[in-house]
């Protein structure tokens, strides 16, 4: 993953935790600034080390850490640097989700080693949609759950988000989220 992700994780910790917490996490993970460069692609193991260390230092389950990170990504990090792109991607939650693959297409021309996941939206019924998340990386479903919660808050879309199932695939993971809105989704 790109150092951009590591930088976002650092920002979250520095914002939400006491001073010195990030130093403790990066020391525990054995990571230094050379592995935090925005435009450099690093082995996924480094990212997982950081997440593991953060969970340990913050005394959180890994799933909870990833979920918190996902929400932070949407609420704080992405808008700070990439607000224009976020706005272009959609003005409602459903629109945004439908355009996510397109957004990832654009990002791929700059981040050449970017291996984005795929999101497919299925309208099941009135007020019910399914979000299919497919990735060649296992273990990031909690992060995606956090992203969805963050999007719900960003677009003020009152809905419930539930993970229906996660399936291991031959090359990664496929998770299905069910989103329910009593008043129907703003598409």
């Amino acid at each position: 993953m790109y150092g951009l992700i590591h930088g976002a994780l650092r920002d979250m910790v520095e914002q939400q935790c006491p001073p010195g917490t990030w130093a403790e996490i990066s020391s525990l993970a054995g990571i230094d600034q050379s592995q935090m460069l925005t435009m450099r692609a690093y082995d996924d193991a480094i990212t997982f080390k950081l997440v593991g260390a953060a969970s340990q230092v913050l005394d959180m389950e890994i799933e909870e850490s990833l979920n918190t990170f996902g929400r932070f990504w949407i609420a704080d990090f992405a808008p700070r640097g990439y607000d224009q792109l976020m706005n272009l991607t959609g003005s409602t939650m459903v629109q945004f989700l439908k355009n996510l693959n397109e957004l990832h297409d654009r990002i791929s021309t700059t981040f050449c080693d970017f291996r984005p996941p795929r999101f497919d939206i299925e309208v099941v019924g009135d007020g019910e949609i399914e979000v299919h998340y497919r990735s060649d990386r296992a273990g990031l479903t909690p992060f995606v759950a956090g992203l969805l919660e963050g999007l719900r808050d960003r677009f003020e879309e009152p809905c419930s988000i539930e993970l229906k199932e996660t399936m291991a695939t031959s090359d990664g993971e496929h998770s299905v989220f069910q989103l329910l809105s009593e008043g129907g989704f703003d598409v």
């Binding site: 930088g7 460069l37 260390a53 890994i62 654009r106």
Partner: protein, 650 residues
């Protein structure tokens, strides 16, 4: 661009399009353009609809015809939209089509309220890439600034460390030179036949000075190791009472010389066996007890051990070393833990000033602490509190207990070291333990001997001229049935065990080799002469003991149960690991470790304990490393257990 291309095709490639005729009238706008700027449907002229920012004024059709390749930037008169594109002459030569996309930078700067969608920009439009890149660029600048700041900080820290290192070496050189001079002078005088009456006194002087020199060297090595972060915890099962007895046994004679009564008591709250780094704890106690005796004359030194708090298997062990000596002034109670702090004892001895500092650092390494209370002329009490675990399975033998009950082994050992003195010393030590020892002083000769003879264990020095120990080991490992090869090294550094194992060694011993470490390696790899295949995987003594207790039939039955259970648990562990369910990983590893140890599966036990502890601490890199070995170690363990039966039957 051909006129024959349908409009919808053009619109899919260029979202903002319109035609212009020879009178510069605008018509046929694309859907996205018309929806945003409806006036484009009204057949109005170009100049009434748009301000042309690039290439320049368009007052007649020839301005377009003659500059077809120019970049065109247009801003709607009502500022509702800005476009970027170019004009393309249609095949009849009488019309041109503007093909383009929204002009994103202008819109962002002047009409940020206007919302676009990704689909308003064709895939090949680089404006979004530019926007993304610009946003990322500021992060890259921040990266550089932070890198620079960290480099500066590291450089300053390095300069400070170098200065401290220089001071340390200067101090230690002096500390070493002093007793070394005494040894040299005493020995020199001993050569003089006229000094025969003083022989005993000179010998004692040389011995004391040599002891002091060794103490200084050990302290320097420990201090350097801790400083380099090379000290790692090596938890093992041990009896605190055995440790105390061992420490007191060493200092007893000195205590008696000074008229100091040594006592100890272990509270019933302390389990009979603990899981922790016994070696480091012993080192701390040696220092504290040694100091207590040094600063006490005709008095008492008592060691008290109690379990302070507990949570499941975890407890805090408190050890208090109390003396009735000269005490320490209140103002010095923190100073004494600083490096180089020295004070003359009652008997006039001066220490290195490092012992308490190292003890505190060792305690902190073990996630514990040391504190002191003292009253001048009444005595001192040093308190060590370290977290440990209650050992759940005391059936496996530890090096400490092995050392206490027996230090004899069976087997043939090859020692490879280019230093003749080290070679001789190690040979004598191992032959004293009942081993058949062969020595050689270079890599090529060790390969020849390993190929020709069958050794149960090879101890290989690393730094040798010509072929080094790593290369020699790699050759030996290519033999059909290679023996385990343990590295002998004076290197210091973090993760030495992992580094050497990654190179292919089966273990490592750090010089100077401590007896407990040597015993541990010998216990791992050597058993009875009946062991054969799988030596080092299964401790045959454990199997023999089990057979003696429950009989051959009983052993075969429980062995089958164990293998089935173990395979099931390992599958559960691996499955839980894939799901990152560390709680299950830790629980199953803990459960399987105990029974593995009962069957003498030393390596499997060690691997499972490593996984258990690292999972509990969420140390993912350590878990990843240990998981890589789990399957192969388990497979070798099961194969060895089954072959044990086959060999015995044959």
């Amino acid at each position: 661009m051909s006129e024959s291309l349908p409009a919808h095709v053009l619109d899919s490639l260029f979202t903002m399009c319109f035609d212009v005729d020879e009178q510069l009238r605008v018509s046929n706008p694309s859907g996205p353009l018309a929806s945003r700027y409806s006036q484009t449907r009204e057949h109005r002229t170009l100049s009434t609809l748009f301000d042309v920012h690039r290439p320049g004024p368009i007052t007649e059709f020839d301005d377009i015809r003659n500059d077809e390749r120019a970049l065109v930037l247009l801003v709607a008169k009502d500022k509702s939209i800005a476009l970027r594109g170019q004009f393309v002459m249609l095949s009849d030569g009488l019309r041109a089509r503007f093909v383009g996309t929204p002009w994103l930078p202008w819109m962002s700067a002047n009409r940020p309220d206007v919302r676009f969608n990704l689909t308003d920009f064709p895939k090949f439009d680089a404006q979004l890439d530019q926007a993304f890149h610009l946003a990322t660029q500021s992060s890259m600048v921040e990266d550089l600034e932070q890198l620079n700041a960290e480099l500066t900080r590291v450089r300053e820290a390095e300069l400070d460390a170098n200065r401290m290192r220089a001071e340390f070496f200067a101090m230690m050189s002096h500390e070493m030179r002093t007793p070394l001079n005494a040894v040299i002078n005493a020995l020199s005088l001993l050569k003089d036949p006229r000094r025969t009456p003083d022989r005993e006194r000179l010998t004692n002087v040389a011995q004391d000075a040599a002891d002091h020199l060794l103490e200084v060297i050990n302290y320097v090595l420990d201090y350097s190791k801790i400083d380099a972060g090379a000290m790692i915890l090596t938890p093992e099962q041990f009896s605190i009472e055995s440790t105390l007895k061992g420490v007191i046994g060493i200092v007893q004679s000195r205590a008696e010389e000074k008229g100091v009564l040594m006592t100890y008591d272990v509270d019933s709250s302390v389990p009979s066996h603990l899981l922790g780094d016994e070696q480091k704890l012993r080192q701390i106690l040696m220092n504290l007890v040694g100091n207590a005796i040094k600063f006490t004359d005709d008095g008492r030194v008592n060691i008290n051990v109690v379990a302070k708090s507990s949570e499941g298997d975890h407890l805090d062990i408190q050890i208090r070393v109390m003396d009735t000596g000269c005490g320490i002034a209140a103002s010095q109670l923190e100073e004494i833990f600083e490096p180089y702090w020295t004070r003359q004892s009652i008997g006039g001895e001066l220490g290195t000033g490092l012992g308490l500092n190292i003890s505190r650092r060792l305690a902190e390494l073990m996630h514990g602490q040391i504190s002191v209370e003292s009253i001048r002329n009444q005595g001192s009490c040093f308190t060590v509190v370290v977290p440990m675990e209650c050992a759940t399975d005391t059936s496996s033998e530890t090096s400490n207990e092995a050392g206490a009950r027996s230090i004899t082994f069976d087997g043939r050992v090859l020692i490879v070291d280019d230093n003749a003195t080290n070679l001789l010393l190690q040979q004598l030590v191992l032959e004293g333990m009942g081993l058949d020892v062969t020595t050689v002083d270079n890599g090529p000769a060790s390969i020849e001997l390993a190929t020709a003879g069958s050794f149960d264990l090879v101890l290989m020095d690393i730094s040798m001229p010509g072929m080094d120990g790593i290369e020699a080991m790699q050759h030996i490992k290519q033999l059909p049935s290679p023996p385990p090869v343990v590295a002998l090294t004076a290197h210091v550094g973090e993760n030495l065990a992992r580094d050497f194992c990654a190179k292919g060694f089966d273990g490592f011993l750090q010089k100077p080799v401590v007896e407990a470490d040597m015993l541990r390696e010998l216990e791992r790899w050597l058993g009875s002469t009946e062991s054969g295949v799988g030596v080092g995987i299964i401790a045959s003594s454990a199997i023999d003991k089990m057979i003696r207790q429950i009989g051959r039939a009983g052993f075969e039955k429980v062995r089958q149960l164990f293998v089935e259970e173990a395979e099931r648990r390992i599958a559960t562990i691996l499955d839980a690991w894939v799901r990152r369910d560390l709680e299950t990983v830790a629980r199953e590893s803990h459960a399987l470790a105990g029974s593995s140890s009962s069957f003498g599966g030393e390596r499997l036990y060690a691997c499972l304990k490593q996984i258990e502890i690292a999972s509990k601490e969420r140390d993912l890199p350590v878990v990843i490393d240990a998981m890589q070995d789990l399957r192969s170690i388990a497979a070798q363990t099961f194969a060895s257990l089954l072959q044990h039966d086959h060999r015995s039957a044959g």
